[in-house]
């Protein structure tokens, strides 16, 4: 009888540890940082909705995760929907989460950047933003 008591007691004692850890974790986590609601694109140069005096030489997109270049597309189109750049982009050497699209000399007008990115953990995300080049 005593041996079965000690056996079961030791069995339940094992459960005490996770229970304690769980309570402590819940208390500790009440002020944990909230889950970010930001989109995958962390920043863009030129910034979204910028009005620029000079046409930009390139578009730089910084993402929050590494992406697969083979399945990533970036297109820059003008106000008529014609593509001005987007055949190719370069991945930044220093940061594999950043890419650069070189632009030809852009005429004044409104432009839109459309991007579709496959992150390395196989999730697709896409988005778009615009910028304006002043005459």
């Amino acid at each position: 009888m005593t041996r079965s008591i000690s056996a079961t007691r030791s069995a339940f004692a094992i459960l005490a540890v996770p229970a304690v850890v769980a309570i402590l974790a819940i208390l500790a986590a009440t002020t944990a940082p909230s889950a970010a609601a930001h989109a995958e694109l962390e920043r863009a140069v030129p910034a979204a909705d910028s009005i620029l005096a000079e046409p930009p030489a390139q578009v730089v997109l910084q993402f929050s995760q590494r992406f697969e270049p083979a399945f990533t597309k970036v297109r820059v189109v003008d106000a008529n929907g014609r593509e001005v750049a987007g055949g190719e982009f370069q991945v930044d050497d220093a940061d594999p989460r950043r890419l650069r699209v070189d632009l030809p000399r852009l005429a004044p007008g409104t432009y839109q950047v459309n991007w579709r990115v496959l992150s390395i953990d196989t999730h697709v995300s896409e988005g778009r933003f615009g910028f304006v080049v002043r005459p």
């Binding site: 079965s4 459960l15 309570i23 819940i26 995958e40 009005i51 005096a53 953990d121």
Partner: protein, 663 residues
Amino acid sequence: MNELLGALRAVHIGCAMLLFGEAVFALAVRPPPDQAGAVRWRVDRRFLAVARWSLAALVVSAIAWLIVQAAAMSGKPLAEAATLRSIGLVLGSTVFGAAFSVRAVLVVALAIVLVAWQRRQKSARSREFMIIHSGLAAALLGSLAWTGHAVAGDPSEAFLRIGADVAHLLAAGAWIGALPALVFHLGSTVSPQRAAMAGRFSRLGVASVGVLAASGLVNAWYQVGGIPGLIGTGYGRLLVVKLAIFGALLCLAAMNRGLAAGALDSGGGQRLHRLRVNAIGEIALGAALLAVLAPLGTSVPAIHDPVVWPFDATLELAPIRESAWQQVVVAAAAVAACAAAAVLVAGAIAWPPRLSIGAAAGVVASLALIGIILAVPAYPTTYQLSPVPFSAQAVATGAASYDEHCSRCHGHDGAGASLDLRDIVPERREGDLFWTIAHGLPEGRMPAFGSQLSAATIWRLTQFLDAQVAARNALALSDRLRPSLPVPAPDFAYEIPGMPQQSLRQQEGNQVALLVFYSLPSSLARLRDLAALEPAYAKAGARVIALPMLDSPAASAGQVGGAGVKILASAGPAVARAYRLFAGKAASRTVATGAVANGDGVANGSTGAGNPRHIEYLVDRFGLLRSRATGLPGAQQSDAMLAKVETLARETREPPALWAHRH
């Protein structure tokens, strides 16, 4: 498509775990540790048969997974994606494909080993085969880490996250994958060998659980981030289900531990039988775990998903920050809850029932006390962060919206409607502010604006409210560095001719910035000085950004000379408008009035309260405004400015945060 991917992953992972688990069982659990020689390494036909079938199922599921994954990656339907070209692209150019290729090599090697082993069963080479087989099975299981979420994050965290993933997979495989072997080898007749085997397996289980818990915590930290993510996102709730199944597995395993300890007693046959039944239950739970695991792998991690909080209240430590006695009570209640929980589980059977009931009541009472003290109202958007960043554009647009919709009741600076918004806003999360603006307050205290204003507009209002609080704090800014009143500087993009667009909060190498708002012609001399001093500022690690005030023409490089080209910037009108908030007592009244919103009939400083014509702000490396100098500086002040820049550039730690919840 995602469901199919998930199912294929589940089958694949299950096979890999079985392959590895039976090897671990054969190596560590089945043979007695003191018996030496070839007996230890010989395996029976059943072992090889299970290995063959697992490997076959693994291969089939892997090929199907590859095809479905190619379709998901390219966005094409399944039929189109199942071409050699598309699959070749996946294999050759993606991390997933590279991992797949490596694993294909491992599979081929394993198949060769199995075939050769089958042929040579009688010979004494079993030891080598066993070692190679176990190594390959471990590699097949562990390499699955490169197909999960751990591989996609910040490269500097990759080692830790992938390592945790590999450990998690191997520990799960060693424990759950070995269960079928355990069930098979435990008969209903007691023998010392079987009892010893049960005991060894139980120790393996304990080690495995430890590794699973530790590695699981690491991964959860990076992928969930906290309790809000756990409760408020689909990924988080799936994880809770996984943890519940894991908890049930733990209970069964704990029971087995106790049963194994007493297996050699009289009535031991019953115990072993019970143990066996439990192990079958554990296998079922393991299968359920795999079923949950599958959608987890294909979902967006909670940390990238907006949190929708499901309850009316939540626990917050921030409100009791000031109150020492409440902190003591909460801490004491937490300790009491832990102690009562320990008493409860440790003495559940053996000690008098009254003690257990008392302990249970103690746990409930302590948690209730903590809940009462820490509970605050919460809404679905409470834990969401603003998708609109704290930028000059947002603040200026928010100011215009505020004038139009809010100033009637709340006044032009927030001090209306019998409360001062600037006292309330720092105590609330952005998501709470969003909800209150969108849904109003009950009993008609505040109308709901959700139907009139878009979500983006409401978020901009929250940024403007943050800026109003910052503006009030900015009243205390002076031309001396203040360490204790951080005022966040709204971000903005600016252009300097000949250089790509930059922003105040650059991503890398955060530099100190001297932000100069000037008016021509009075500021010209100072601009010339700054142009001449620019190399000194650059050497001190700072940028000089000179922007014209709203009613001033922009200076040209020719007027300024020197390194004028490097400091004269242009930015949208929102920047000057937003930064006027921080201009101090004289100017703060002009903010958030119609004058600001409508393109600035604000006077040239020739009327009354004296709008400053020249202001220089110092922004530190953490994006905080640390000093404000109004008016044109003399020589002494100019030198002092450079010294201040040098002090700021040397700072390594962010000053203590004003607000707990954001930025």
